[in-house]
């Protein structure tokens, strides 16, 4: 697969250990071993593993200098496809700053080895990363009412208690509040997801009125339309 998942956690206390916190999580569907890292990619080829690693380093290196407090996360890296860049190899690093609830896209030029463009804003939410999906599931399961409901449903269908979020099939989708919905107003500014949860019998309990606020680390319940 054409991407890796690189997570940079920049907690206030952890800045000194930052180099060590550049964590590469191999995706469960990744097949990167199949590709030679030494091959020179053609202009329209997906990013190679080596390129993904380099973009992660370049994009987070400048983050380190500029953001020393707050939780900043590199979500994923996408090949740059801007016509204006011609055939230059570029990549967009999708970054979320949880402290300021800001979404940042940094464009890295691989030949130049630097960030050549940056856009940031509030209120726009890119799709959740796999790591955010797992974190949302952990928050949900830790909640006495909502988590308890999932645990009970799991035990009923599996015949044994739920051990961890990895026992469940997960799909997180960004939740943006609609004009008449109540209960999750914070999500107009926060990073919120709806979590779909598959039980071992292949059914999906109705979790559509439950929203996980990843910014506030809270579970919200939707009311109204």
């Amino acid at each position: 697969m054409a991407w890796g998942r690189i997570v940079v956690a920049l907690a206030g206390a952890g800045v000194a250990a930052l180099a060590g916190s550049l964590l590469l999580l191999s995706g469960e569907q990744g097949s990167q071993a199949a590709r030679s890292p030494l091959r020179t990619p053609s202009p329209a080829d997906p990013l190679t593993d080596e390129e993904i690693d380099r973009v992660g380093e370049i994009a987070s290196a400048t983050l380190r200098a500029r953001m020393t407090n707050g939780r900043v996360e590199l979500l994923y890296i996408e090949r740059g496809d801007d016509k204006a860049a011609g055939e230059r190899r570029r990549a967009d690093a999708y970054i979320y700053d949880y402290a300021a609830n800001r979404f940042i896209v940094r464009t890295v030029d691989l030949a130049e080895g630097r960030v050549v463009a940056e856009r940031e804003g509030r209120g726009t939410q890119p799709p959740p990363s796999r790591l955010e999906e797992e974190r949302a599931a952990e928050l949900l399961l830790a909640d006495r009412v909502h988590g308890g409901r999932i645990r009970a449903a799991y035990a009923r269908t599996a015949g044994r208690p739920l051990r961890s979020a990895s026992d469940l099939g997960l799909r997180a989708l960004i939740y943006t509040p609609r004009p008449a919905s109540r209960g999750a107003e914070a999500c107009s500014d926060h990073r919120c997801v709806r979590l779909l949860v598959r039980l071992p019998d292949g059914t999906w309990p109705d979790t559509t009125r439950t929203v996980v606020d990843l910014s506030a680390k809270k579970i919200l319940t939707l009311t109204g339309r």
Partner: protein, 412 residues
């Protein structure tokens, strides 16, 4: 067949307001942008410029295993590159068609899904299923890719029959007939209970059929009888009806990156003895809705086929259920959008780009079109039935892109 008979054959008001073209469906086309069909330019302009030819001959922009280059039995060829993007999932770039014995004709710079919007009939939930599609690609088994090759486990490249390419009876002679074939490129994505088959078929006659098939399972959400249909055993469960609004983004590069113009064709007079051809040229960004017999085309105003006619690809036949959402879903209120290329405009809703408009209706902002991107919205209203029991049979939705004067004759 279009399911647009419910709407009168009017241009959308958005089109009238925002489009620089003539507001009336029967008004003549704006002059100047496009030569009338059939106009032959001086001989020097008959063939595309040397640069375009050169580009077509040039090495493809991608290498194995991302390059797809296939000759079909009639001698036609398709060439394209694929990429599994994190957000859009399967994305095709550099799509070019070579008719039998002809030269390569570029058609699309890139195409990918731009949203799968799924509002349920009771009002909630309303999902935007893109999504990090690429992270949810399903590993295909060899049985899932019959007769084809799997590329990096997630993409199937195969060839299949498309029925008769033509059949003509000749008195006293054998029939003149041939079976047609198409190259198919597809991947599957697991989004919650649904599995989406995302497919592009490239036919030996130059046509492209993008479509999405929804299979997997129903949500299983119970609702009141006014919002659903009784499924499963007996009458204990009413499954909630919902709509799949699927958007494609198509960056056309008809016969090279320049000189692309989008036109709309109407045939007013339906129901009377005569129908007249009416052309509307989109000179500015535009929103358009389906109407009976209406279609669009992307035409290269500079290049000509061997007959001297401008080369184009036509868009139509969506068979859309034409969902029109509430005020906060304005992106569902047109069936086709034409916008000036902007790199940050990738999805039809929930666009994942800071400091960029958030949805396709907002991309239409009165800009002059010099590099048009086309967005096609096809909706399907899914009222569950007993047959939708697990595994749910695939329901398909899509549209057709067909060559119009790309060749001077049947490319057989």
């Amino acid at each position: 067949m279009r399911l647009s008979a419910l709407l009168p054959s009017l241009l959308s008001c958005a089109l009238i307001v925002t489009c620089g073209a003539s507001a009336s469906a029967s008004a003549p086309a704006r002059a100047g942008t496009v030569l009338p069909t059939g106009t032959v330019r001086p001989s020097g302009a008959l063939s595309p410029g040397g640069a375009v030819r050169e580009a077509a001959r040039r090495a493809p922009a991608c290498g194995a295993p991302y390059l797809v280059e296939r000759e079909l039995p009639n001698g036609a060829r398709w060439r394209l590159c694929w990429e599994m993007r994190v957000i859009e999932g399967l994305t095709l770039t550099g799509v070019a068609y070579t008719p039998p014995r002809g030269r390569p004709i570029p058609v699309l710079r890139s195409t990918a899904l731009a949203q799968i919007h799924v509002p349920y009939d009771s009002g909630e939930p309303r999902f935007h299923d893109i999504g990090a599609l690429g992270e949810n690609a399903v590993t295909l088994a060899s049985a899932d890719c019959p007769g084809g090759e799997r590329r990096e486990r997630f993409v199937c490249v195969t060839t299949r029959s498309r029925g008769h390419g033509y059949l003509k009876s000749l008195p006293g002679e054998p029939n003149l007939s041939a079976l047609g074939h198409e190259l198919v490129v597809y991947a599957a994505f697991q989004i919650g209970w649904y599995t989406y088959l995302v497919e592009w078929a490239f036919s030996d006659d130059g046509a492209i059929t993008p479509r999405v098939g929804a299979t997997g399972s129903l949500a299983g959400f119970a609702t009141g009888p006014e919002y659903g249909w009784s499924t499963g055993t007996g009458d204990t469960h009413v499954e909630q009806s919902h709509t799949h609004n699927i958007f494609w983004r198509l960056d056309f590069d008809v016969d090279g990156p320049k000189h692309d113009v989008v036109e709309q064709y109407d045939f007013p007079g339906s129901g009377t003895a005569r129908r007249t051809l009416s052309r509307t040229v989109f000179t500015e960004e535009a929103k358009a809705v389906n109407a009976p017999a209406r279609w669009w085309r992307v035409v290269d105003t500079e290049s000509r086929n061997a007959d001297g006619h401008p080369i184009s690809w036509e868009i139509g036949d969506s068979g859309s259920a034409q969902y029109r959402g509430p005020a906060d879903e304005a992106f569902t209120r047109a069936d086709l959008y034409v916008t000036q290329y902007r790199a940050c405009e990738r999805l039809a809703s929930n666009n994942p780009a800071p400091r960029c408009a958030g949805s396709v209706d907002r991309y239409v902002s009165g800009q002059r079109l010099t590099d048009p991107v086309v967005w096609v919205n096809v909706s399907y209203h899914h009222v569950a039935r007993d047959e939708d029991a697990d595994p749910m049979p695939t329901h398909w939705q899509g549209f057709r892109i067909t060559p119009r004067d790309a060749m001077a004759e049947n490319p057989r």
